[in-house]
């Protein structure tokens, strides 16, 4: 049930209208950062206040909400946001990617392919991909308006000169529909290919920086690269130790004081789904037998 002390999805109607107008303009100009007047939320910045406001503006009572933090549904951050919307919007919640209609995420794209019936909302800390090159907002605005992205390529090329490869492994910049350079939020570059041609609508909310941007379904998204150094999303040298998946993004976990390590899917729903279907990795126990 919705608790009566709150408006639906917590925010007042005027605030939701303002955010909704910004979302629509973001959708109309893919990859372009649209300013909005971020509201105080009952959680600190860094807890995804931008994503929370976008989610609040999009939710309907019919939604099934999933919230992930670096792929996991059970972190404090994810649990808190899910419970916030269960209380203030009365929506159903789920951990299963395939069952969710709206997924709010911090730093991952789920492994399970998204569908046309889903919206993925990203929590974004720093929305401006040019910020580390140019701290002044009017200047970065001008650079975007003139498609002045040469410095960005220079920075990436310096990586190659120094390390022999582009060292950026997350927050890897992309170009949207051949026009705007966009920060995909701190997802691993492993996830970058999933941004492009995605059947789901992707919305990005930065609370402290007060920006919203969007990728409509089936938008072309290209990771910046060079002819002689094409983009490489990377791939772990391991399979998941619990479910044996060879194509998922893995976290390294220390398992004992002797420095023993294991590699497990960062997407906990994906990993559990595979184990439930009978896939077992190097250190995995059959589903149901694990502690």
């Amino acid at each position: 049930m919705t608790e009566q002390a709150y408006n639906f999805a917590y925010l007042d109607e005027q605030t939701k209208r303002m955010i909704r107008r910004a979302i629509l303009k973001g959708v109309a100009v893919p990859g372009c950062q649209v300013p909005f007047a971020s509201r105080e939320m009952p959680m600190p910045y860094g807890w995804g206040t931008g994503g929370v406001q976008v989610t609040a503006a999009c939710l309907t009572p019919e939604d099934r909400l999933k919230v992930i933090d670096q792929g996991a549904d059970d972190t404090t951050n994810a649990v808190s946001i899910r419970s916030f919307f269960r209380r203030t919007a009365g929506v159903a919640v789920t951990g299963a990617t395939a069952d969710a209609t709206l997924i709010q995420t911090r730093h991952r794209i789920p492994e399970h392919p998204l569908t046309e019936d889903q919206i993925l909302v990203y929590q974004v800390p720093i929305p401006e991909p040019l910020r580390f090159l140019e701290p002044r907002e009017p200047e970065t605005r001008k650079m975007h308006s003139l498609e002045e992205y040469g410095l960005m390529h220079v920075k990436l090329y310096e990586d190659i000169a120094r390390h022999g490869a582009i060292a950026t492994s997350y927050d890897y910049p992309v170009k949207v529909e051949g026009r705007y350079v966009m920060d995909p939020s701190p997802i691993p570059k492993f996830d970058n290919p999933k941004l492009s041609g995605c059947p789901a609508l992707q919305l990005f909310g930065a609370g402290r920086e007060q920006r919203i941007y969007a990728l409509p379904p089936y938008t072309s998204v290209v990771s910046l690269d060079f002819d002689d150094h094409p983009f490489d999303p990377g791939k772990a040298d391991h399979d998941c130790d619990l479910c044996g998946a060879g194509d998922s993004y893995l976290d390294e976990v220390i398992i004992d004081d002797a420095g023993g390590r294991m590699f497990v899917c960062s997407d906990t729903d994906f990993c559990q789904g595979r184990r439930a279907a009978g896939h077992i990795g190097r250190l995995g126990a059959p589903a149901g037998a694990a502690a």
Binding site: N7, F8, A9, E13, Q14, K16, R17, M18, R20, R21, A22, I23, L24, K25, G26, V27, A28, V29, P30, C32, V34, P35, A57, C58, L59, T60, P61, E62, E116, P138, R141, K142, H144, S145, L146, E177, R179, Y180, P199, L201, A214, L215, P216, P217, Y218, T219, S220
Partner: protein, 193 residues
Amino acid sequence: MANPLTAETLGGGFDDAPIQSARAFRAALDAMARPGRIHVIAGARPPAPLSAAAGTLLLTLADGTTPVHLAGDIDCDALRGWITFHTGAPLVPAEAAVFAVGRWTDLAPAHRFAIGTPEYPDRAATLIVEMPVLEAEGPVLAGPGIRDRARLTLPDPEAFRANHALFPLGFDTFLTCGNRVAGLPRSTRVEDF
């Protein structure tokens, strides 16, 4: 001047604004994100001749911060009163509008509307065009939100082609008919007609 506080003016709004506007926004969002798809959008019952879809879009998106332009027969006492009462939006000429509502022939020439600035392309008008028919047929559309190709009834394909040529500037459009809505963002290419 007509009595501003008629039942027609005071009625026809949302009975449960938070829920109805949430559902209406999702329809509008999906329409704008997937050009060519036609969605039902309802909740408002505006005075004639405004459609339920156009009225619902206004109640969902317009307020005292968003000047609205009413074109042609939409610009009548009943609707001026209804929109002012329910949204608080100031009614303005085309050039100053954040939202503009009317039939295409009354909204034209479309180059009067705000197309945003190079630094802030979002500061562009949204047109709500009342259509006599709205079907997934006619000119071929391509671009973001469209997997392959889509078709949609357009009032003036050449005008939307010219608008797309301004990208990333340009106005964005909702097409409305009865209780149905489709979206046509500036990013959409009108391929042949």
